[in-house]
Structure formats: C-alpha cells, structure tokens
Symmetry: C2
Subunit: 434 residues, 2 copies
C-alpha cells in the first residue's frame, strides 16, 4: 500500500469510524457469540501472498463486528467508561503517523516535553498540591502510564526501593533480601488508598490515612482511576482532599476524560524516588544535554522502555473541549446517574446498595441473589443493554455505570424501562423454577 | 466536535500523515531544540473555553514538529527501527474507533480471540515449536504485551511464582520471604537469554544455555526484541534454534515487522505458569462461559488490566503484505546493512566492530574514542542522519541501523558519503584541538 492508496483507504476508514459511532446505538451492545467462534472463521495460517484491502475490510464486518462488545454504545453500562472522543482519535492518528518513540528526551524532545507540560496542566485542573507539579524547577511531576495497574506497581516498587535504602543507611550490615522480607504493604481489598473503587465507587478516608502514613514514614499511593476525572469540577474536588499527604497519585483520563485508552496519569512528589528504582544508562541511550538537569527521561519512570506520543491526546482534548467542556461532560454523567438512582428509589421492588457519588449506581432487586442473577443473565442474553455485577457486603448487586460519550437521558430511561420489564419476566420465571 | 466535523478533520489528518511520510526525508532527522524549548511556547494552563481545531493544528506545526526526532525518516539509523506501515495505521484507526477494552473474553470476544489466533499465525511464521501455540487444545499460547520489558518482567514473575510453589511443595514450613531471598536469576549484561542485543545485535548461544536450564529446572526466557522479526525468513530461522528449550519467548513486531508500536509478542509453553502468578477474579469481571475452559482472559497474562485491540494491526499487516512481502522487507534491510558494511570495510580509516548478522552495522574510525565521539557529535549537530553509539569491549562504537520503511540504497550511500566527509572535518578539528 503506497501513500496514494493510504489517502483513499484512510478517508474511507474515517467514514467507517464515524458511521460506526453515529449508528452504534442500533447495534446489540453485548455480542451473541460463543467462545471460540472466531478461529473457524479465518484461515489457520497467515497468507503467503498479499490479499486485497477489500477482503480485509469485508472480514472486519464478517468476523470482528459480531464479536465486539460495544463499549462506546450509549447502552453500555458495564465496568466503567472507556473514554473516546473525536479530538482524541485525531491526536492518535497523528501519534501513529509520527511513529516516534519517546524513551529519552533526545528520542523525541516534543514527546517528552509535551507530556511533562500536559501533566502539569492536568494537575492544575485537579488543583493538585504544587509539590506534584514539574514546573521548571519542581522536584515532582507527572508521567503517562498505560494503566492504573502499572502506576500502582511503579509506586510499590519505588516505595520498596526507598524503604530498603532507608533501612540500609541506618543498618548497612543487613542484606537487601532480609530487609525486603520484613517490609509490609498495607492495603484494603482494593489494594491501596482508593478514591472510587470499582465495585461501588467507594472512597477511602485519605484525610485520616494520610497523616498516619506520614507519621510512620509509609509511602502513600492514591488510586482514583475512575473518579479522578471528576475532580476537575470544584464541587467534586473535596473528594480529593488529603492528597497532600500522598507520595504518589494516579487516575485514568482514558476512563472518564474523553481521552482514548491508554492514558493513566501519575504524579509523584519526588521524582528521584521513582527514578531511583529504575535508573539504567547504557551508552546507546546517552546524548548531549543529558546531565544539564533540564531534561526528563521518561524511561526511568515506568516499566516500558518504548513509549508512544500519548500526550497529544491530552493536548487535543483539553484544547478542543476546554476545561468548561470537560466539566460539563462529567456533570452530565453524574446527573444521569442521579436520574437513574431516583427511578430505582421510586420502585419499591428495588433498592439502592451504595451511595451514588458520581456516575455509578449500585442497585438490586429486593430478594435473593439468585433473583438478581437471573435478571442480569436475561439482560446479558438479550444484549440490549450491558451491565456487570459486583458483590457488596456479601450480596450480589447490579452496577449501572453511565459510560457512553453519547449517553442521553432517553437511554437511561429506556434502560430502566427495559430492566423493570425484564424484572417481571425474570420474577415469573424464577418463581416457576423454584 | 461532532461526527460531521470528524469526517472532515479526519480526512485532513489522513492527508497530513501521508504528506508527512511522503516528504519526511527532506526534514532534518534530529531536531535542533534545547531542553525546555516547548514549555514557553504554550500557555501554562489548559484553556477554560474550547479553542478552534485550526489553532490546535497550527500549533502542531509550530510547537511539535520542531521537536520531533523523525523515527520514520530514511535518514534515521539510531537505536532500532520503530515499525510503521499504512495497513497498521489503518488498523489502529479502527482500533481507536471501536474503543473496546479486552481484559476478559466477555469484555470483547473478538479482541481476545483474534489476538490468540494472530499469535498462532505469527508463531507458525517463526516455526515456533507446537508447544508455544494455543490451537484449540494447546497448553501454551501467545499474548501481546506492550514492550519487551513487560514481557521480561512477566516471565520473571512467573518464574519466581513457579519456583516458590515448587520449593513450598517439598518444604511447606519455609516462608515465602525466605524462599524468595534464596532465588537466583542468571543473566548476562542484557538480562536474559538474548537473540540480537541492543548494542551490537549479538546472539546468546541458546542451544547451549537451554539444555542446562532444563536440566537444572531453571525458567528460560528468550528475548529477541529486534531480531525476532527476521526469523520469518528460512535463512535466519537457525538463529532461533534452541527455542525449544525455553519456557517463554518474546520479540517485538513493533520494531521490524511493520506493526506500529506497541506490539510485543510473547509466547509461553504453559499458560498456567503465567496465569498462576496473577489470577484474580472479582465478581464484576465474571461472566457466563468463563469456566468452560474455552476462553482466554488476557488480564491474567500481564500487568495491565485494560488492553487495546492491538491484534487488528497484526491481522491487517499479515494480510496486506503476505508472508512473502514481510520476508522481502526483512531481506531488503539486511541487504542494505551488508552494503553499508562493504563500504566501511573498503575504507581503511574505519573498522567493523561486530559481525553484521541482520540490519545493524557496528563500526568506528580507527583511533581514539574521542575521535569517534567528535565525529558523532558533529553528525548529531548537523542532523542530516541520526546514529547513536554503543560500548563494545570498552570502546566507543557507532551503530548504523537500517530503520526506515522507505530506506533505499541511495539513503545508505548518502549516509556513508556524509560520514566520510564529516570524518575529514572531524579529524582536522580534532587534531587542531589536541
């Protein structure tokens, strides 16, 4: 494929994507395929000779589309949102086209520098304490990780490295293995201090945990993977109070801030803590200016060496939406969740199972777990809306998350109507069964 | 931005990318900016209100382009290639448009299933032993990791988990901490068994290491990040001999197989070894069919929970190039490296510093390290071609890697002419200085 054909095919793909997103709500949100469906639909080996692009595209419709769970559908209410927006898609196309890899400053200066500044912009939007910002002279700063899991792992490794160093300084005779065997990580079931847990969007009391950690010299990492985006709204910012006690903090703009996956934003107060755990300097990665103190080499900040130009997505989205547009987007989702909550509360057969703080409503049919399981099973089977369950205080609970960029009031109302209609059927069937 | 505007802007972006790639060789390959150049060129905070797309795009030219190291330029000979091709760009656009996240089978069945089958296709292209393939009943299989670092980390964690379990079974009284403190990882300077090291593309003797590891029950991980792509050619496949002794193997199609970053292909012989280290099953990730034994949940195979639909890139590239097209691409790069090697050998002022096996030539001016450093510094300063150095047996060596998809014979010849001309100047200056 040469540039001329790419121009043609690329434009067709833009229309394909736009068509897909404009019409997505007419698709069955949860696919109707059985495990292993795909293997038999395509050859068992790669073709020896090139095939035509038409054939590939035909197979996208024939093979791929039937097996897609449509995360961008306004009928998708499972898990948490996976962010997507047109400006982010455009930025990602640019990122792909440039095809540069930003492991050191020299590997592509714009890639590193835009990331640092975008994480400062975002940190300011969240009103993070100054300590977490890079600025021109700060000791802290932000980095884009792939996922919250990676951010948490990095925090854990940095904490361990710091603790070992600290013990080693006061007791140089002790071996690293011995020190490590005595280290303790304090976690809840959600691992670290969490703002907005996955099952129910619950919040740890970081204003209580924080001073304790600081007094005991314990590294405090806060994960706000989903909820973090909401902190750009002044009315939700109090949920982040206590972050000033943390050593590191992360949340995922790729969940709820209209930035396509992957983009997990992580900040540390002391970048040397993070870098200290991973610094390696082979000659092939050295360059002039490296020791100037002015450059950031993000390869020291995470597990991967290679890194895409992901900050372009942040830049495009921040500028095309503006802070006001992003705030409006968050508020709309929260309002839709409140509407859903109100409808659940009005129906005596159902109950709300956790405080609705942001865009997630945990609810269930009053009655047995089996009844709720039957309801969800039927819902999934029909595939008109998609929800996943959770366990709260030992009970089986349904999670209704407002996810889609295009989710409107009518989708939430339709979802509720669908659920209550199914409830009738499920109850009947359930009582017949039992 | 609505769908209509995205259609327009998306098509413009396709042209922008095509224009960029068609004219890339006329750009200075290494940028002429100083650390910190970008921050002062843009505001210090995100705008409150939306800006126009025109303004954003203007700033791409004004702010971003001057700070790009052009990895896709045919004048780029640094590090190793960062793969890029039009089919992969199209697939990535589709991946972005779908915006689905494939952490479990149910989260998007096509995403998981295509990945499994594509890793089988690729494994067959490399003639990997059957053990590494998933098939319909295999115990092994492949997974896409972000980078080779992540693949190596996964292998290390899986090996550790397996070793702890093994010791624990024979000696249940020993604590995990005690066992871990006694574990040993054997590595060279490149960490694990490596096929094609970064400094010089050297190859560990895995046919010797392998039987030793098997006899001593040591987990053997092989990393062929760069070189792995070449093993699709029968003439280079012998370099992979010995992989049958390995427990896990990975290489990066995103380096040399025309698949844009990120896409590191990893295979294991026993998927339970990998999964055993990480399995977690919260209720919100459970679904029907999960226990059927037919599904793969890739979230157990790596650090990240979220995963993009990266196998689309493999599918598009394999089908649009065919195995023959991919082999031809690899062979062309190796031939160009051989041409460069021949030119170096013919010039008595220079010497070759390592066997040229694939697309990398390690060479230097006969004489002091300082002389070679001066030469490279001038080359980097001028920015017409871009190389990075390495250390081999204590000496400062220049690395010439054939990287670009569009690198042709004339670019290699021009590069050599440029280097020899600079050598004259550098020698003169150097002798004046010293």
């Amino acid at each position: 494929m040469d540039a001329a054909e790419f121009r043609r095919r690329g434009k067709e793909m833009v229309d394909f994507v736009a068509d897909y997103l404009e019409n997505i709500e007419h698709r069955r949100v949860y696919p109707d395929v059985e495990p292993g469906y795909l293997r038999s639909m395509i050859p068992s080996e790669a073709p020896l000779e090139p095939e035509s692009y038409e054939d590939v595209l035909k197979d996208v419709d024939r093979v791929i589309m039937p097996g897609i769970t449509h995360w961008q559908s306004p009928h998708f209410h499972a898990y948490f949102p996976s962010a997507s927006s047109y400006p982010a898609l455009l930025a990602d196309m640019l990122c792909g086209g440039l095809g540069c890899i930003g492991f050191t400053w020299a590997a592509s200066p714009a890639c590193t520098e835009l990331e640092t500044v975008m994480l400062d912009w975002l940190g300011k939007m969240l009103q993070l304490p100054e300590d977490f910002l890079a600025g021109t002279k700060g000791q802290g700063g932000g980095v884009i990780q792939g996922t919250a899991s990676e951010a948490t792992l990095m925090a854990l490794l940095a904490a361990r490295c710091k603790a070992v160093k600290c013990v080693h300084e006061s007791d140089p005779q002790r071996s690293e293995a011995d020190i490590i065997s005595k280290l303790i990580a304090y976690t809840s079931e959600e691992f670290c201090a969490t703002l907005g847990t996955t099952p129910s969007c619950a919040f740890d009391k970081i204003t209580e945990l924080g001073p304790l950690c600081n007094a005991e010299n314990i590294w405090m990492h806060i994960d706000a993977a989903y909820a973090g985006s909401s902190f750009i709204c002044p009315e939700f910012r109090p949920l982040l109070d206590g972050v000033e006690f943390a050593d590191s903090f992360n949340f995922n703009p790729h969940k709820w801030l209209l930035v396509n996956f992957d983009c997990s934003a992580m900040w540390v107060k002391k970048r040397t803590d993070l870098i200290g755990a991973f610094k390696l300097d082979p000659v092939y990665l050295k360059y002039d200016n490296q020791e100037s103190g002015l450059v950031t080499d993000y390869r020291h900040w995470g597990i991967p060496l290679g890194r895409r130009f992901r900050s372009l997505k942040l830049w495009f989205v921040f500028r095309m939406y503006g802070q006001s547009g992003l705030q409006a987007y968050i508020r709309k989702h929260v309002e839709l969740a409140k509407v859903f909550e109100t409808m659940v509360k009005k129906d005596k057969r159902f109950e709300i199972c956790a405080e609705v703080v942001l865009g997630l409503v945990c609810f269930r049919l009053k009655g047995s777990d089996e009844l709720n399981e039957a309801l969800l099973k039927e819902m999934t089977h029909l595939g008109r809306i998609h929800l996943v369950p959770c366990k709260l205080r030992g009970r089986f609970v349904l999670r209704f998350a407002v996810c889609g960029r295009t989710t409107e009031l009518r989708h939430v109302q339709e979802a509720w109507t669908h659920i209550t209609e199914l409830q009738h059927a499920a109850s009947r069937e359930f009582h017949t069964m039992w």
